[in-house]
């Protein structure tokens, strides 16, 4: 209970509260990678405050808020688990959604026992697509097992990782799939309330979801009796106010509660005490959108896709430096080289410096490691991550120092400011590399001290992720880094 009159301080946490997006150019890392395509636009974007990191238009970077073009969309997996409607140009009307088979999964789930639904999800091997890769079935089971009078299902639609736009297109082009998936999840875990936490940077998705939620309510998909069953489910849309760390689920729950989006200490796990202290299931949009297909086709069919440990399909967002930028549904297991050279068709210009997969808080994969297979554990072994499936190619018009400077600039601006190493360490690193770009040299000892403190003592994945990025640079680009030091 926070007294309602004093929202001002907490609002000041969010850089886009009360800021219109119109005319804002994107400063995301994908647009940074492509900055030389439109240097003037980039410089304007870079000079602007508050900064806007990633509009989810990485396929046309450097991007501006109001320019709407559709990316190339293609299904490369054996089954279109996620993009069957999107690839057709989108289904934004309930009748059309149902005509394309929508709603059958929800009806089927409501006819099954809760345990059976959770069993299907668990057996499918579906892992969280938001970055952590945690087993969806185990999460669902934990929330289902929590005894409470109130539970929540929350869709994490804070697709903040620069370089990704898959969730945006899922929501804009196939919004009922998300609602259907959430209704199934809510039924399975015993929740009657749901929230979609959507980032403000996606105004189009907001407009679509608002209409969709209204339609779903009118049609009885939501409300006291979901599709005539005894299951009650209400779903609301919460629009973020601008904060990258809201992608972290506990920070996001704090944001929904009107607090500062700082991460919470665990335990307690949110499956036991989440939103407003109630057991809460949080899955990201892509994870949820796989649910209807799994319920309809069975866990076995889903598990047959991909690899044994990384089952199913994954959406990849390829940035504008690729010859064929766009959104792809692929199966796990193909090599990174295949993604870069076959799916993306190689670079439009220049030589490949490296690919950033899964956002800036992981590594940069050097060309020499492109034969690594695309999978959770495989990428982890080279200090990188599947993350959200964003694939940003950097060409040799970007130097390592410029990239490090940009990542730490982003990291510092998005740090919540709670823990010491990230609060003060990330801006110091950003300043150090600004000096390097300006021709200066920095202390190697201070770099190592700060990266170690970030890696070993950060409170959450934001600071640790920045350190992982730095260590990947140390590991894969030692000579370039050495040149920055005195």
């Amino acid at each position: 209970m926070i007294p309602p009159l004093r929202r001002r301080p907490n609002e000041s946490f969010y850089h886009l509260a009360h800021v219109p997006l119109t005319g804002h150019a994107c400063q995301g890392l994908a647009c940074f990678a492509a900055r030389n395509n439109a240097p003037q636009r980039w410089q304007q974007a870079h000079a602007r405050t508050p900064p806007l990191f990633c509009l989810g238009k990485c396929y046309q970077g450097p991007a501006v808020a109001d320019e709407e073009t559709r990316p190339h969309i293609e299904v490369l997996s054996r089954h279109a688990v996620l993009l069957s409607n999107v690839v057709k140009g989108g289904v934004r009307d309930l009748a059309a959604y149902e005509a394309n088979g929508g709603g059958q999964a929800l009806r089927r789930a409501l006819a099954l026992s809760r345990t059976d639904v959770i069993g299907e999800i668990a057996d499918s091997g579906l892992r969280g697509r938001g970055g952590a890769g945690f087993s969806a079935g185990r999460k669902w089971a934990a929330v289902a097992a929590s005894v409470a009078s109130r539970k929540y299902v929350v869709a994490n639609a804070d697709e903040g990782d620069p370089g990704t736009f898959s969730d945006r297109l899922l929501m804009e082009d196939d919004p009922f799939r998300l609602i259907e998936a959430m209704a199934i999840a809510a039924y399975a875990v015993g929740a009657e309330h749901g929230v979609i936490y959507l980032r403000k940077e996606y105004p189009q998705a907001r407009a679509v979801l608002e209409t969709t939620l209204w339609q779903a309510g009118e049609a009885g998909w939501l409300g006291p009796q979901v599709l005539g069953s005894s299951h009650r489910f209400t779903l609301e849309l919460h629009i973020g106010q601008g904060s990258y760390v809201c992608g972290e689920e506990t920070a996001m729950l704090n944001a929904i509660e009107g607090r500062r989006a700082e991460v919470r200490l665990r335990p307690p796990q949110i499956t036991a005490q989440g939103l407003f202290g109630a057991p809460t299931l949080v899955n990201n949009v892509e994870t949820l959108c796989a649910v209807p297909w799994i319920v309809m086709h069975g866990a076995r069919h889903y598990a047959a896709l991909g690899t044994p440990s990384s089952s199913g399909t994954k959406l990849l967002s390829l940035n504008s430096l690729f010859f064929r930028p766009g959104l792809y549904e692929v199966e796990f297991g193909m090599t990174l080289r295949h993604i870069v050279e076959q799916v993306g068709g190689g670079l439009k210009r220049g030589r490949l410096l490296g690919v950033m997969i899964g956002g800036p808080l992981a590594g940069l994969v050097p060309p020499s490691l492109l034969d690594t297979p695309f999978g959770y554990e495989e990428l982890q072994q080279i200090g990188c991550a599947v993350g959200h499936g964003g694939v940003i190619a950097f060409a040799d018009d970007t130097s390592i120092a410029e990239l490090v400077a940009e990542v730490f600039r982003f990291g510092a601006l998005e740090s919540c400011g709670k823990c010491t190493p990230c609060h003060f360490g990330s801006p110091e690193l950003a300043r150090m590399f600004r000096e390097v770009i300006g021709g200066g040299r920095i202390s190697a000892e201070r770099w190592h001290a700060l990266i170690n403190a970030l890696a070993d003592t950060s409170l959450c994945g934001h600071g640790r992720g920045l350190a992982e990025f730095a260590r990947a640079i140390e590991r894969h680009y030692p000579q370039e880094l050495e040149r920055c030091f005195t």
């Binding site: 007294p3 004093r6 301080p9 510092a412 998005e414 400011g417 010491t420 609060h423 070993d456």
Partner: protein, 884 residues
């Protein structure tokens, strides 16, 4: 016990501890700047990181629970290096001159230990505030531990400090230009928690060279505190950890101590000669007092004299005061200020349940599911209890507030019942009627513990909410809803204040509350009960020690305990019936009562209907005032002034609201020629031929005599009080104390009887000439007669009493905010500044009575409680007019 290995050494520790607590318990020091035992761990500073074998990465020891078999390392090179790096980051903006000025400050020593030099980099933005009288702000020194933000949220519940912005732009500031604008209640918790000196006690210029643990001298909560003194001056007070206040104080306890050294404090005995006060020696003053008392007894009889004990004084001193009255003067005419506050509670509880004190302990606040607050305003008058209730409600407990005014806690309440003043009995009866009618009775409890249910059920039918709601000014449905909540969401804990007791039906109001607890089984259980919030530090003790005409020490009726007391005292206890305070006044006016000795109590200023009090005091031949200041009683009517030592200048014990006896300890020597009350009483007794029985060498010896006479306090030795916080009854040294009364049986039997109480109208009634209804009470920053608080910078925080009025009334009367207005009752008038507020309803007014010069009790009503004569301070018919 768990077994762990800490830096290669094996330790045993209890479960439910954090790793940091284990490390500290092992006598090891680990920097943990954002850690405060009063708060939930934040894990922000990252200095207390440790490595745990098998954990994927280092963990913050403040936030991690210890587990059996853990192998913990605190001192690896990597941990030490990270600690140094993080400290260097915290110090980058820290001002070097602060370190130079105070090298011994713990944070500065930590920097030195790690070889970290502060960088002094500029900060922007930076909060400044020089305006608060107590809280100093130097945010240049903020190290972003957020303890101020967290303690203001998690302990005080005030939300003054906020974290603004994020990342490196993060800063801490209130939502307002100053702390006070941001809603600060000046509890000082943020200062107490701040590890760097960004927040400090600005009036504490000298560093204390001695700390003395003691008990707060203000309200009856009984907070424990550490008193810092320097060169025989009190320079700082800090909260101490105790089950009562858990390391928290309010603005009065924490800051309002400077009265001790006020320039107008009287530290020399004085006699009034030809209308003028003259300083004299103790011998002269005491000889004069003894002689005059003897003369008056000789001339008018023993019962023409009387003594008033003091809620300010210790148990030992109050014990001696009543012993003096009974043994030396030979009269039972002894009373104290409990008469005007909670004697109705004591009477009601004693009559119905057998013990005249709170049934439960403050420890139960966190165990209650529902709170019923009646006629009390804890966030202002019992702020630590108020803060604890607020936190409990924030964590899910339900709250019912019954109060005519929209007090702060009403904002947190499930139901606020703003009843018309004077309708308590009617409302409580309506709640009882709901409980009976709707079948919410606790039948099992009723079967085993209650008598009189049938008669009560018949009687209460007439009080159905629909029948009385209009008269109460409430809706019947709200009354029913509140009754249901209280009866169903158990355990339900009731706290009440003077809004219940200071009425013509004060005692009966408390009885009606006890009926509710009996019907719902909310007695004898943790988290339940009927709990009067005592207004003053030792008002419970003062009466309990025997400053009551009808009972001896331990609230033992004179006929029952006479023999044992006479045996110990080796003196006869007078047979005549004693006069209470109000009866003494009446007898004085009638010419039957001639001499009064008053300890630490300004009766002229504080008794209702001051004109009547003046008439009585005027008639006395001898008024002996024992006080620290020339109070209004002394100024107008005193003959002898005996300068008393303050609470900081003596040893002894106080008894708080939840039946704990707690030590006060001498921090400085008595100032000037002032003396502790116990010394003064003994000197007078010796001069009146009673050296025997009044030759104790100190408070502990007095207390030991009390323990022999008060069976329920026998186990409360000074030795135990050093380390334990015990609720009486505690009949022996090996008894653990009794936090919850009436668990298996009531103190007066297995069963309690429901009492049928017809509701009666208040004494004073509005009419065309006096159309408005005035209630009086206290405020956060001032205390009672203002004797202490107005001699501190609290006078800046609240400069004046105000007359609180609803906007519609002000508009109708053509009055404006801040304007001086005349408040007139049938009994007198006062002039007060007007405050327009939505906390009072139209037709009702509120004011406090803290400022002697405004003298609000010239206005208040002469009506008294039907059973124990407490004045009806809460209902006076008045009119308000513009000054012409």
């Amino acid at each position: 016990m768990l077994h762990i290995t800490l830096d290669d050494i094996r330790h045993e520790c209890a479960a439910n501890m954090t790793i940091l607590q284990v490390i500290q318990a092992a006598g090891r020091d680990l920097p943990a700047l954002c850690n405060d035992e009063r708060l939930q761990p934040a894990g922000a500073c990252r200095l207390c990181m440790v490595e745990v074998e098998g954990a994927p990465r280092a963990v913050a020891s403040c936030a991690a629970s210890v587990e059996d078999g853990m192998v913990i390392r605190t001192d690896t090179p990597a941990l030490e290096a990270s600690r140094r790096t993080n400290l260097s980051l915290l110090a980058a903006h820290y001002p070097p001159d602060a370190v130079a000025r105070e090298p011994e400050h713990p944070f500065h020593r930590l920097l030195a230990e790690y070889g970290v030099t502060p960088g002094g980099e500029a900060r922007d933005p930076l909060f400044h505030d020089d305006s608060h009288p107590y809280l100093g702000v130097d945010m240049d020194r903020c190290i972003h531990c957020y303890r101020c933000v967290r303690i203001c949220d998690e302990v005080q519940g005030q939300f003054v400090w906020w974290t603004w912005q994020r990342g490196e732009h993060t800063y801490v500031a209130p939502d307002g230009d100053t702390l006070l604008e941001g809603g600060c209640v000046s509890c000082g918790a943020c200062v107490d928690s701040c590890p760097s000196g960004a927040l400090f006690d600005k009036r504490s210029i000298e560093t204390p060279d001695r700390w003395t643990r003691s008990t707060c001298v203000y309200c009856g909560v009984g907070c424990q505190m550490n008193v810092g003194s320097h060169a025989q001056r009190i320079v700082q007070v800090r909260p101490a950890d105790s089950p009562v206040n858990r390391g928290h104080l309010c603005s009065k306890g924490r800051y309002a101590f400077e009265f001790t050294h006020a320039t107008d404090r009287i530290t020399t005995p004085m006699l009034r000669e030809s209308g003028e006060w003259r300083e004299v020696s103790w011998d002269m003053a005491l000889d004069y007092t003894a002689t005059r008392l003897r003369e008056i007894v000789a001339c008018h009889g023993q019962d023409a004299t009387g003594v008033l004990g003091s809620a300010r004084a210790s148990n030992e001193e109050n014990y001696l005061a009543q012993k003096f009255a009974r043994v030396v003067l030979g009269t039972n005419n002894v009373d104290c200020c409990a008469r005007v506050c909670h004697t109705p509670s004591a009477k009601a509880l004693k009559t119905m349940l057998g013990t005249g004190a709170a049934t439960n302990s403050f420890d139960d606040i966190e165990r209650a599911q529902t709170f019923l607050l009646c006629g009390c305003n804890p966030t202002e008058n019992h702020p630590i209890v108020g803060a604890r209730i607020k936190q409990a409600v924030r964590k899910g407990a339900q709250l019912i507030v019954i109060d005519p005014r929209r007090i702060e806690l009403a904002d947190y309440a499930t139901f606020h019942l703003p009843l018309r003043p004077g309708c308590n009995v009617m409302l409580f009866n309506a709640m009882a009627a709901t409980i009976i009618e709707e079948g919410l009775l606790d039948s099992a409890f009723a079967a085993q513990r209650i008598d009189g249910l049938d008669a009560f059920s018949n009687f209460i039918r007439a009080y159905a909410p629909e029948a009385v709601a209009d008269a109460c000014g409430l809706s019947a449905e709200t009354i029913r809803a509140a009754a249901r909540l209280y009866a169903i969401a158990k355990p339900s804990m009731c706290f009440h204040g003077l809004g219940v007791t200071e009425h013509v039906q004060g005692t009966e109001g408390v009885m009606a509350l006890i009926n509710l607890a009996l019907l719902t089984g909310n007695l004898g259980k943790s988290g339940s009960g009927i709990n009067p919030l005592r207004g003053q530090n030792n008002v419970q003790g003062s009466a309990q020690m025997g400053c009551d005409p009808n009972s001896l020490t331990g609230a033992q009726a004179i006929p029952d305990a006479r023999a044992s007391f006479e045996a110990v005292w080796q003196a006869a206890i007078p047979q005549s019936h004693g006069l209470d305070l109000l009866s003494m006044m009446d007898a004085a006016t009638a010419g039957r009562f001639k001499a009064l000795w008053v300890f630490g109590y300004d009766i002229y200023l504080t008794l209702a209907d001051a004109a009547r009090t003046a008439q009585a005091l005027q008639a006395l031949e001898l008024v002996v005032i024992q006080d620290m200041f020339m109070n209004e009683t002394a100024r107008a009517f005193g003959h002898v002034f005996l300068p008393a030592a303050s609470v900081f200048e003596k040893d002894g014990t106080f008894m708080n609201s939840d039946r704990r006896v707690q030590r006060i300890r001498q921090a400085i020597l008595p100032i000037g020629d002032s003396r502790p009350d116990w010394w003064i009483i003994q000197q007078a007794a010796q001069r009146m031929g009673h050296a025997q029985g009044f030759s104790f060498d100190g408070p502990q010896a007095i207390w030991d005599e009390i323990r022999t006479l008060w069976p329920a306090g026998a186990g409360l030795s000074y030795a135990r009080l050093e380390s334990e916080s015990i609720n009486w009854p505690c009949p022996s040294e090996d008894h653990p104390g009794t936090p919850v009364l009436h668990a298996e049986r009531f103190a007066n039997g297995q069963r309690a009887t429901l009492v049928c109480i017809p509701s009666m109208p208040s004494g004073d009634q509005c009419d065309a000439d006096y159309p408005l209804l005035l209630t009086t009470g206290r405020t956060l920053y001032q205390f009672n007669a203002g004797t202490m608080t107005y001699r501190t910078p609290n006078a800046v925080l609240q400069p004046s009493d105000t007359l609180d009025m609803a906007a519609s009334d002000a508009q109708r009367l053509g009055l404006h905010e801040g304007e001086q207005v005349r408040l007139t009752s049938r009994y007198g008038s006062a002039v007060l500044p007007l405050r327009i507020t939505d906390t009072v309803k139209p037709g009702e007014l509120f004011t406090s009575f803290h400022r002697p010069d405004l003298f609000v009790n010239r206005v208040t009503s002469p009506y008294r409680d039907r059973l124990v004569k407490s004045p009806e301070y809460k209902v006076t018919a008045v009119r308000v007019s513009r000054l012409v």
